[in-house]
């Protein structure tokens, strides 16, 4: 029943998703030509769309990051002075071909990393823990990875709450000058850090009380099994990545 409501991407084995993300992000870092990076981005988007991932909702959530990427694009375009001029006012070169290429590479790389991360985001954290353990990663290490992933949204929520609380007590963040804003934001980091440490402390006590690491081995109620499709992905993706690296590199 649970399986019926899942998207094709969610149905994939977590190991396949990790492999896909690893291969796509490796390609994004290995290549720097905008045309190739654009191709990788299209391929990544194709996987997400074929897997019926909620791309539109995801784009809404990362809107702030998209502005940052746009900002990076402009910075790269304007500050790289070498290369053939594309936009020039009198003797002042504004945009060069090389600047544009570097800017496009940076933006495309970031977008590929973000979208390939979305493949991972379609899975449950506990599934990745299980996948890592079944890949013979030590349980403690896998558990730490899982905790880090689980804590990120909680930290984000804490930061947002503290931010709202300060505003509710009269802090007009939009109107204060940049330096003051920075000092306010630094001040707000204090409770976020304190809250995170407190949460870690409570969690470690809870783990101790439930006899974490009392026995060297653990048994699992659920065992992940690879479907034929998953096996194909696990085989094809590294081979194709290697081939692309050799052919286009």
């Amino acid at each position: 029943m649970e399986q019926m409501n899942k998207t094709p991407l969610e149905c994939l084995d977590p190991r396949s998703k990790m492999m896909m993300t690893l291969c796509i992000s490796t390609l994004a870092i290995a290549f720097s030509r905008p045309v190739v990076l654009f191709g990788i981005l299209l391929f990544c988007l194709l996987i997400l769309l074929a897997g019926k991932a909620p791309v539109k909702l995801f784009l809404q959530k990362i809107r702030a990051l998209l502005y940052l990427i746009l900002f990076l694009f402009i910075i790269q375009c304007v500050f790289v002075r070498e290369g053939e001029p594309l936009l020039q006012i009198d003797s002042l070169i504004i945009i060069t071909r090389l600047g544009m290429e570097i800017a496009l590479s940076v933006v495309l790389r970031l977008l590929i990393l973000v979208f390939s991360g979305m493949i991972l985001a379609s899975g449950q954290v506990r599934d990745y823990l299980l996948a890592l353990v079944q890949c013979r990663v030590p349980y403690e290490l896998a558990f730490m990875v899982m905790m880090v992933i689980r804590f990120i949204p909680l930290l984000r929520q804490d930061a947002q709450d503290v931010f709202y609380a300060a505003q509710m007590r009269g802090t007009e963040l939009e109107k204060v000058p940049f330096q003051k804003k920075l000092s306010i934001l630094l001040r707000l980091l204090l409770p976020i850090a304190a809250g995170a440490l407190e949460r870690v402390r409570i969690m470690s006590i809870a783990m101790e009380t439930r006899m974490f690491r009392a026995y060297s081995g653990r048994t699992y109620h659920r065992i992940l099994t690879l479907s034929n499709f998953d096996k194909t992905i696990l085989l094809l993706f590294p081979v194709c990545t290697l081939a692309a690296g050799l052919l286009l590199g």
């Binding site: 939009e174 001040r187 204090l190 304190a194």
Partner: protein, 232 residues
């Protein structure tokens, strides 16, 4: 100065189901109004809409005739003080004393007045012995009292308290009730979101019951009169 909610509609991003479904209500200055309802009926969502953390999809929130939906959280915060469910999320100062003084400084009060008010609220909520302490080292009940003190010190037109008695012992429950009566007499409107029916019955004048994103009943707790569909 009444606080009027008109046809508020709100749904969380990505969700097709609205949490607030055309909710209308009226809160009066100088009155304690309780907002009750089952878990998940939208009480906290309504609170967050009123203080500007969430923005309604449609509808208006009027305070003294002016619409709050377009104002920043900070500007709403000067008129409506708010205590959220988890007090730890509302503490961000290095000491207890500075926590109370934070909002007062933002109001542009003189240093002497900030000091005087801070001392008063530290005394009233019996937090003076902890004035130099880091707020995160207080117990949950003490944190609750500290946030209450910080919110009430700003003397807003309305205070919105989400489960204010959740971590308070009987002594502090009674003290809070007494304080709410006092500010009510001074003309402050109190909106109490609570599951503590004893506290509501003892201190609130009107109880609004929320059900499926609207106010389904309004009970006058003094004479027991019930008005169905208060949102009409």
């Amino acid at each position: 100065m009444d606080l009027i909610l008109e046809n508020l509609v709100y749904s969380y991003p990505g969700s097709r189901q609205a949490i607030l479904r055309g909710l209308s209500a009226k809160f009066s200055c100088g009155a304690i109004t309780a907002l009750t309802g089952l878990n998940g009926c939208g009480k906290t969502t309504l609170v967050k809409n009123i203080v500007g953390i969430l923005r309604p999809k449609s509808g208006r929130i009027l305070l003294g005739g002016s619409d709050l939906t377009s104002l920043s959280i900070a500007r709403i915060g000067r008129k409506i003080g708010c205590l959220l469910q988890n007090p730890s999320c509302q503490l961000f100062s290095p000491t207890v004393e500075e926590e109370i003084a934070y909002g007062l400084n933002n109001q542009g009060l003189s240093r002497a007045l900030v000091r005087k008010k801070t001392d008063y609220y530290l005394d009233y909520f019996q937090l003076s012995p902890y004035r130099g302490r880091f707020p995160f080292h207080l117990s949950r009940g003490e944190k609750q009292r500290l946030v209450l003190a910080a919110v009430l010190a700003m003397e807003p037109d309305y205070v919105l308290l989400d489960e204010p008695t959740a971590s308070l012992d009987a002594y502090w429950r009674k003290n809070l009730g007494k304080y709410l009566r006092k500010i009510q007499k001074d003309g402050c409107g109190v909106i109490l979101v609570s599951h503590d029916s004893d506290f509501v019955e003892e201190y609130a004048g009107v109880e609004l019951i929320m059900e499926q994103g609207v106010i389904s009943k309004e009970i006058n707790l003094a004479d027991g009169r019930i008005k169905n569909g208060a949102d009409e």
